[in-house]
Structure formats: C-alpha cells, structure tokens
Symmetry: C2
Subunit: 140 residues, 2 copies
DNA sequence: CTAACATATGAACAGATGTTCATATGTTAG
DNA sequence: CTAACATATGAACATCTGTTCATATGTTAG
C-alpha cells in the first residue's frame, strides 16, 4: 500500500484530537481561504490598495497600475464576486470602492506582520532568507 | 495603438494622484501579497488551522488532513519559507508550530469577515451569490 | 438613429501551482 | 555497521490562473 500516510504510526493521537477539536469550522476555513486567495495576487492587491482611500473608475485603475482595461476589468469581476469591492455607475463610468472596512484592516495587519517578520534578523539580509527557518534562527 | 489603457482619457487625475499618494509602499504590498498567497490554498489553510493550538509533527498533519506525507512536506516547506511556521526536531520527528501570533489574528479576522459578509443578504442564499454585487444589493 | 467611448466578457494561451512518484537525507534502535 | 522509519526534495504531470485579443454591452452626445 502506498497511500498509508506514514509507513508505521509514530503519530500523536492526543495532539491530533486536540487539533481536530480546536480547528475552525470547515466552511469558515474555506471562505477565509477564498478571501486570502483573492488577496494573494499582486494586481488585485494593488487594486485594493488603490481603493483604500478613494473610489476609482476602471479607467483610473487602468492608468494608475499601467495595465490594460481588460485585465483590470477581469480582476474587478473577481474582486466583485468575492465581495471585496462594490461599484456604482455614473454615466459611462463605473466607480469601484472597497466593500467594507474589514478589508483595510486585514491588509494593514498583513503589512504590519510582514514588516515585523522581516526585521532585525541577525546575519541575514531581507532577500536572503529563503529557507531553514528553525530554532537556530534567533527571532524572538 | 492598442496599449492605450483607455482609448481617450476620461480619467480622474486628482483621484489617481490621491490614490497613488496614499498607497502603501510597493515592497510592503508585495510582501503582504505573498503572505495572502501562501494562506490562499486550502491545504495550507488547514495546516495553519491545525497548528493554531498545538505543535504537530509531519505525520500528525498527514494523518489529520488525510494527505500524503510528501504533499504535506512540500507545503510545509512553503510555509517555512514564508516564515509562517517554525519547527524543532525531536528524534525522528519534526514538530511544527506557528511562527507567531499575528498569523492567528489574521486568520481569525478573515473568518469573522467571511461570516459577516455572507450574513443576512435578502433573497440570496449563501451559495448563490456569485455576481452583480452592486448598489442594488442592500447590504449595509 | 449613429458615433464615440467606458466597461464587460469569452476564448486562447502561457506560466504558475499542487500533487504524486521515486528517491535522498537523517535519525534511532539493534 | 544495517534496518526501519520520519522527513525532505527533485521531476513529471495535470490543473488552475492571469493576461491578451477580439468583441459584446451599455451609456451619452450629436
């Protein structure tokens, strides 16, 4: 059999049970994952950031990010379906804005996290930390 | 020319300038995006969730999620490189845990957000809202 | 009505991504 | 030492994803 997860079981049933019990509900997890997935694209992340303060029309976003109208529009659809943005029509324009303030909070938090994580790691440069993130690395 | 972002400019320069000025720093944005990207995969999301309370070894995770040891190990590498988890070795086992408490906070926040977003939308079922998220939809 | 423009979207294609399979590395027991 | 086991990783492969191109829809001006 090749699909035994580990050849023999040197597993820790208590921990497993504990984890299974404490884990968030499956659907919640899936939806949160979807949210992250949508945020996890550079273009969409820029778009969200551009909308942090103002509403913008498709053309504005296109110009601001230096991307084609089509690409922007496709991405806006994804953001719309994920309920991250809403829009209003005004004449020929469609003005997009963030759907609610949770988004801003999450983005800010993620940025703070990144800043802290990449700060003050002895003997390593910001761009050189790619692996071996273990106990030896003294990061409080 | 086909690469003019909009055929003629019906753009809103003030808004664009405002957005450009208020946008987070490019590198911060990129790193935050990376974080979201890593969190935006169902398997990794489950792994993170499983580690919310306890540390677990590769075998435990494999068993708990019903996935091959190899798949888990590959994903752990990604989580490690993104500095979302750390591990310690104890004999043959490698026990993984979350790198810091920001992660938990971000995950929790995302879950809360999902719950609120999908709550109490008149005339729509949780699974049926896939598009047309516009002003007509009365969601405060 | 038609022309001009802003936006949306389907199809196609290239590049990214996750899993599997095979195998390598590293640790412990004997 | 060797055998057994836990973990890591390279290669291959199928799927997913983002952009482009072409075109459709919808609005306004004339």
């Amino acid at each position: 059999m090749n699909d035994a997860y580990c050849t023999k079981f040197d597993t820790h049933p208590e921990r497993i049970r504990g984890a299974a019990y404490a884990m968030p509900d499956g659907q919640d997890l899936q939806e949160a994952g979807e949210l992250f997935k949508v945020l996890g694209d550079p273009t969409r992340m820029q778009m969200i950031s551009a909308l942090l303060t103002n509403e913008l029309c498709v053309c504005d976003l296109s110009e601001l990010l230096g991307m084609s109208q089509s690409a922007i529009s496709h991405q806006l659809r994804i953001l719309r379906q994920a309920r991250l943005v809403r829009y209003r029509r005004e004449g020929k324009n469609a003005f997009y804005r963030l759907a609610d303030s949770h988004i801003q909070l999450i983005v800010q938090l993620a940025i703070e996290h990144s800043r802290e994580i990449y700060k003050d790691i002895p003997g390593k440069d910001r761009d050189l930390q790619n692996d071996s993130y273990d106990d030896a690395t003294t990061l409080l």
